[in-house]
Amino acid sequence: MIGVNRKGEVWVFAEQHNGRLEDTPIELMSKARRLADTLSVKLAAALLGDNVKDLAPKLIHYGADKVYLAEHPLLGHYQANSYAKIIYDLIHKYEPQIVLYGATVTGRDLAPRIASAAKAGLTADCTDLQIGDHKVQAGQLHKNLLFQIRPAFGGNIIATIINFDRWPQMATVREGVMPMPEPDVTRRGEIITEKVQVTQQDLPLEILLEHKRQKKVNLKTSRIIVAGGAGVGSKENFKVIWDLANCLGAAPAASRAAVDLGFIDSDHQIGQTGTTVRPNLYIAVGISGAIQHQAGMSQSQKIIAINNDLEASIFQIAHYKIVGDLNEVIPRMTKAIKSVARE
């Protein structure tokens, strides 16, 4: 456990697998940069692995001032015990005030283990982070705390969590909720090589097999998304979603209801248990707009909602509301798009 350290840096855990940086630490960088600037402290990345030093300049290009580099042959494969031990030691050595992790499978495996050892607070799955003040009822004011903002209870409420005494302030952040920053290859920073001790005792797990599969669709980078819901009616009729997506060069997606009904593979699912997206245009077809779905798409620049139910809650967040039969509306949209393409 470390105490309040106002001079402490802001850290991001630089998750990498097989020498490839994950998207989440990069997404975290622009937000973490702003937090560090607000607090007038340095932004650092904690990079662990075997032979990963090539990734350090990349982290600096995305906004880090410093990279703490911990390389060891036994750190080649992520394990909770070994990684937690090293980050725990680094935290106690440098006393950062904030440590952020992506809410990936690895981040959610690692961060709680560190929080438990460090007896520090940890907030899961944040969708936003800010710096602000907290007044305790007795009147004491805690300035410049990390506001850890996350949906709770199925997304019906937004909770802001703080941690004012036992630092570091730690949070995992949902994938895809923060935009990827553009790298600045002229940025310079400091790479600090850490000497670390890792033994077989720190590696209780043996990874026998690993099978990685590519997701069938990359929703996070799609500029336009066409998503269908239960209202599309059947797997056969879901073809209208694919057709409209093809015609727009968009990614086909779905609500959880449509995935559960077997209309489309779960790789396409948008929402709290699926992917979070922020495209330029989101077309919601036959989606009622449960709060869990909205949590994954409400940050879209423009939203078109097509539904035959005027009361559907998706209309509350739509920029363009079309009340009608999707089987009539979509062909009209396709026709309009194609006619423009011909002009």
């Binding site: 909770a80 990936t104 959610r108 495996d109 690692l110 709680p112 283990r113 929080a115 438990s116 050892a117 007896k119 520090a120 607070g121 940890l122 907030t123 899961a124 602000g132 907290h134 949906p151 709770a152 019906n156 409420i157 937004i158 909770a159 802001t160 969590i161 703080i162 941690n163 005494d165 036992r166 209780p204 797990l205 043996e206 990874i207 690993e210 099978h211 990685k212 599969r213 590519q214 997701k215 500029r223 336009i224 245009l281 409400s298 620049q301 078109i304 209309f315 509350q316 967040i317 739509a318 363009y320 509301k321 079309i322 009340v323 009539e328 509306v329 009209r332 798009i337 006619s339 423009v340």
Partner: protein, 281 residues
């Protein structure tokens, strides 16, 4: 919701967290195949005993309720500390947890509990591949793909909903365990049934009934923090570094919105507008 932003759990019905059912199911399958005892532990208000009875209906051998007002306002760190005190009182080889709960869905208590017990963890387990003496192999979901991971016991596993189909309560077991009670429930029941009896006699009655239940293995264990020997500074509010700053209801609304006619013309106008502002290229 309480004034400090924590959840008033006594006001909520006690439900079995869905992925905890998957965790229980995997434990029961291992028990059926390899033997052993399954002990279910929960921390919560007295009403959480209902979930423990449900576990007994489904096949658990033993049930423990950790209940104490001093547990209130525990965050995941304090919760994992309290659970670790309880788990240490039980002889265990494998600790099963659901991957995450449906209220906070933090997925933090499992790994934190493993750390407190100084044992390894395997999270996101979707299949038990092999259990052979002291060694266990599981398949875990790693998002886009899976990993087969082997380790030796003791270990803590967090189980996902893909792992299995939880069994339902067995009718025979329901008949047997519907009368399983915690000491607190027993006391309340006896008091309600014997309103005219004096305090001392009630006490005797409770003691008698209690040993009767114990003999029939129908007594749900009830442990408080004192019994657990827990350090109170690590429990409840004082043991919880995270605090609630603010709670807001979600209001999502588009800034500007237009009603578009479902006619060919209305839709064509909208498409034109989206091309003009370069939303569609």
């Amino acid at each position: 919701m309480n004034d400090d932003g924590t959840v008033n759990r006594s006001a909520l019905p006690a439900i079995f967290n869905p992925e905890d059912l998957n965790a229980l199911e995997m434990a029961l399958q291992i028990k059926n195949k390899f033997g052993g005892r399954v002990t279910v532990i929960t921390m919560g208000p007295p009403a959480a005993a209902a979930v423990l009875r449900d576990s007994l209906f489904r096949g658990a051998d033993d049930a423990v309720l950790i209940t104490d007002l001093k547990c209130a306002a525990s965050d995941t760190l304090a919760t994992s500390y309290i659970l670790s005190c309880a788990v240490r009182k039980v002889n265990y080889d494998i600790v099963f947890c659901g991957r995450q709960a449906i209220d906070g869905d933090t997925a933090q208590v499992g790994p934190q509990l493993a750390e407190k017990l100084s044992i390894p963890q395997i999270t996101y387990v979707e299949e038990l591949v092999e259990l052979n003496g002291n060694s266990i192999t599981t398949r875990r979901n790693i998002g886009a793909g899976w990993q087969q991971v082997k380790t030796s016991l003791p270990v803590l596993l967090t189980i996902t909903s893909d792992a299995n189909e939880p069994r339902v309560a067995a009718a025979k077991r329901m008949m047997r365990y519907k009368n399983a009670l915690t000491p607190l429930e027993l006391e309340r029941k006896i008091k309600a049934e014997n309103t005219a009896v004096n305090e001392a006699d009630i006490k005797k009655l409770v003691e008698h009934k209690r040993s009767e239940l114990e003999e029939k293995a129908l007594l749900i264990k009830q442990w408080d923090l004192d019994f657990l020997g827990a350090d109170l500074s690590w429990c409840g509010r004082s043991g919880s570094p995270t605090k609630v700053h603010r709670i807001q209801s979600v209001v999502l609304a588009a800034k500007e919105s237009k009603n578009i006619e479902a006619s060919g013309e209305g839709i064509a106008d909208m498409i034109h507008e989206l091309i003009e502002d370069k939303t569609i290229k």
